[in-house]
Amino acid sequence: MDKSTQTEIFFGPNHPGVPGNYGINYNFEGDTVTAAEANAGHLHRGFEKLMEERIWIKNTALVPRICVEEPDINEMVYAMGFEAIGEIEVPRRADYIRSIILELARIQGHIFSIGGNAAGIGQYTIMNWGTLTRDYILDIFEEITGARVYHIYIRPGGVRQDIEAETFAKILDLMNELENERFPDLEKTLFENPNAQKRWQGKAVITKEEAIEMGATGPVLRANGVPHDLRKMMPYAAYDDVEFEVPTGDNGDAWDRIKIARDDMLQSIKIIRQLINKIPDGPVQTDLGNGLKYRIPKGDAYVKIESKRGEYGYYMVSDGSLKPYRVHVRGASTPLGLYGVREYLPGTRIADVPVWAKSLGICPPEFDR
């Protein structure tokens, strides 16, 4: 190939268009990407090593940091792994509260990434709205857990503290507000906006076969009409007690994925309402004894849940001591962020690279770890 027409650029890590501290080095010819390579690792902190150094309870404070966009899923997977190895029963009320937290986290994650996606195509109003709406959910989180972003709320054996009735009321009010005021505005300004549709339709297509081949899940897979959702396939927490549909698309393109994000949020609102209506009374934490001496038998477990970006899993190994022997994090966007970039970014036009990266929900900290 004629090198003179080739240009190589370093897209990120310091660039508004990339999702977080992450880079893509790509060559392009004209304005079409010809080859691309992920430039990851800027957020590597060695979590898996640090977790081997800390006793079980301490890691509950560590895990949320793995993915800042959606910290609660980490707390949940960690707790699930601990309970799976230790064969610990969780009170039903705790299961419900966990689901509520996870769905709130899903909404704030989706609305945030819709804002980010919109910013990627220059729709800054939407980014402002998205971030603002997310902030109201963070207020709810702050009231429940005592922190805006890193909640350290879901714990092995249950959750840290109970939720008061008035907080439930607040959540329901917020859900109504979202459904009746904010989402309709969003609908009109973004989803009915021909400009936005043009920028997203038919862009960054990942077919069903490609998605399954590389292990991409969540919206990426569902945008191809397959309703694969771990909340249905392997129910955890209280998801077997609630009714909801799994939104899908037909074309596997950015547009479908963003619509899935929108519909997901509506489903989450539905789920939260059901959960709050029929949440049982009772304790929210099983007694695991002295927190400094948590100990579970030898064993291992691969646990996974449906994050907003798809399958989020931990492989946890216990050697029966006070610390985990090994924890391996499987981030939802790992295959896309590392393998997908090389395989499926080429052919995209430069202007669409941010669309590609953001609509696929690439979240670097979860594969940098």
Binding site: K58, D162, L190, N193, G289
Partner: protein, 598 residues
């Protein structure tokens, strides 16, 4: 795609926000307070905090370190250290608040601290947080988030109606599961170690139980205590009184855990575990007078050091008060013998039925041995000396207890009164109750004491158990006279109300109110108001210094006579563990003395 609604005008709806009230929080003009559970900067009540350093233990980021604070006085069960928090490490997880043993550490809702100098991000939180301003309380621990295990494992005990029929041990001991669960409650703060008279490695041996490594536990225990079977049953356990967990919950059952550890190591393995199979002898001889806890302790540590030990005792078996004072239902003889036999097996010689001063004088011992350790204890019961005590139906508790221990038939009547409020009074009352039950099928015993129940010296659980066994308590009564019938049998004990036991200087000088008289019918009275010792075997031959009623000793249990060491009740009271300590000190002291280091 066709099905997607689209209109070039729909985004125009955004303009309606022009007339809406802006949602911006005009910080700092209008401030937006943090939520009520917000995890802000730490505050710490320096009065309540005991410096147990559990927060340091749980801190994820090693952000907490304990700093010496000399202005806070360290009382019993406290350290003069307080947590210092490094906000260059802290991640505001609040685990320290969840685990705080006293609940002194809390978080405020203050979240904003800006500084140019990075070295200012460290603070020792007090009533005010790092900004030195008052803020509403933020995150607080509740029963769900609490990380401590506050509930102790209940010890299985015989039911009163069952135990009253025999001298079988009441406490049944932990199972493996119970012991490991109970051991897991320990936070390893070592405040108990600071308080234990023998400063035993308590967290270490509890950790051994938690890890199911009882041999480790045994080693740790024998570091400072060669009579664990005994202490595991009858120790006064001051450690449990100061246990960090006891501030918000029930103390760890340290005594029962020790008992579990030693009960479950086979005495045959002791020498292997403790590495005493082969002891280097140094051909020096030491005499120990008195085979009580102090004597046995000294004998053990000395013989481990390689000395040749001979223990003299006036009774026919070893154990002293532990055998002849403590009833079998509290301390079974096989438990006692397990400890003693191990000490015997180290090559310690015992000479029984030999009273120093009568059969052999201290001087002769001095000639035959390089050093002498005297721990003869207090064996002579004191009398109230009220009218009627000379009657032959009035007995001394210590003598009766010794006879019971010897298996002798002891006199018992249907209706008897015990005078005294200490553990000896409980022991004799409960022993006699068992004998009464055996003989007459019913318990009819009254215990009177000068002290009202709140200041009675006896252990609270002893009093409760005695009550369960049908013993009646008449606290706050002073014996006035024992009225005797013509035929020499007892009629009744006449008591008056004891107004106060101690005077301002806390010296013993009871005052009575004769307007308030109560009489208790009885045909037998037992006095259990304390014992005295007989040190004539020393005093006859040597000028020895006394500190009050007790012999004066230094940190190495050495008396004013350099080759004579003393311990146990004659030197330092009042309990077994203290006696063991004096014995241990004496062993160290004698070793130094014989190597000319003391």
């Amino acid at each position: 795609m066709a099905n997607d609604k689209k209109s070039i005008f729909s985004p125009v709806t955004a303009f309606k926000n022009l007339v809406k009230k802006p949602e911006t929080v005009r910080y700092p003009a209008e401030s937006n307070d943090a939520a009520k559970r917000y995890r802000g900067f730490h505050i710490n009540d320096l009065e309540d905090c005991i410096g147990c350093s559990t927060c340091q233990e749980v801190c994820v980021n090693d952000a907490i370190s304990m700093v010496e604070m000399l202005d806070v006085p360290a009382e019993e069960g406290q350290r003069s250290e307080r947590p210092q928090i490094d906000y260059g490490r802290c991640c505001w997880c609040g685990l320290c608040v969840d685990v705080c043993t006293t609940g002194s550490l809390e978080m405020s809702r203050d979240y904003s601290y800006i500084e140019i100098d990075p070295d200012s991000f460290i603070v020792t939180p007090a009533e005010k947080d790092i900004n030195q301003v008052d803020h509403p309380l933020g995150y607080l621990r509740d029963e769900h988030s609490d990380l401590l295990d506050l509930k102790r494992i209940d010890m299985e005990m015989l039911e009163p109606e069952e135990r009253i029929n025999s001298f079988i041990e009441i406490v049944e001991g932990f199972s493996k599961e119970q012991a490991e669960k109970e051991a897991s409650r320990c936070v390893e703060c070592e405040i108990c170690t600071d308080t234990c008279p023998a400063s035993m490695n308590i967290p270490q041996y509890i950790r051994g139980i938690f890890d199911d490594d009882l041999e480790e536990s045994l080693e740790q225990i024998y570091e400072d205590n060669p009579l664990p079977e005994i202490c595991g049953r009858v120790c006064t356990h001051t450690c449990e009184g100061v246990c960090a967990i006891s501030h918000r919950g029930e103390a760890v059952s340290i005594r029962w855990l020790k008992r579990y550890a030693v009960d479950n190591v086979d005495s045959a393995d002791y020498k292997k575990v403790l590495g005493t199979e082969k002891i280097e002898q140094n051909n020096k001889k030491v005499a120990v007078v008195g085979a009580g806890p102090a004597g046995l302790s000294a004998a053990h540590y000395l013989s481990v050091m390689g000395y040749q030990i001979t223990v003299y005792d006036s009774k026919e078996k070893a154990g002293g008060m532990m055998r002849y004072g403590i009833p079998e239902y509290r301390l079974p003889y096989d438990a006692l013998d397990k400890d003693i036999n191990y000490i015997k097996s180290l090559g310690v010689d015992f000479v029984f039925n030999t009273r120093i001063g009568e059969n052999i004088t201290l001087d002769e011992l001095h000639e035959q041995y390089d050093a002498v350790f005297a721990a003869t204890g207090l064996h002579n019961g004191r009398s109230t000396r009220v009218p009627g005590t000379d009657n032959n139906n009035v007995y001394q508790a210590v003598n009766l207890l010794a006879d019971i221990a010897r298996g002798k038939e002891v006199p018992v009547t249907r209706n008897l009164v015990v005078i005294g409020g200490g553990n000896v009074a409980m022991d004799i009352a409960r022993s006699m109750a068992r004998i009464q039950m055996d003989k007459y099928g019913e318990v009819n015993i009254t215990v009177t004491s000068l002290e009202t129940e709140d200041i009675m010296p006896a252990d609270q659980e002893e009093i409760e158990e005695a009550r369960e066994e049908g013993i009646v308590f008449k606290p706050g009564r002073g014996p006035k006279e024992i009225e005797v019938n013509e035929d020499g049998t007892l009629a009744q004990l006449c008591t008056n109300c004891c107004v106060s036991v101690f005077d301002e200087e806390m010296n013993f000088s009871p005052t009575f109110d004769d307007s308030d008289i109560e009489n208790y019918e009885c045909d037998m009275v037992i006095e259990a108001i304390g014992q005295g010792g007989d040190n004539s075997y020393i005093d006859d031959q040597f000028e020895i210094e006394y500190a009050g009623p007790r012999i004066k000793i230094n940190d190495y249990s050495q008396t004013s006579v350099d080759w004579l060491f003393a311990g146990g009740d004659i030197a330092l009271g009042p309990d077994v563990i203290t006696a063991i300590k004096t014995g241990h000190d004496a062993a160290v002291g004698i070793d130094m003395y014989l190597n000319d280091e003391l």
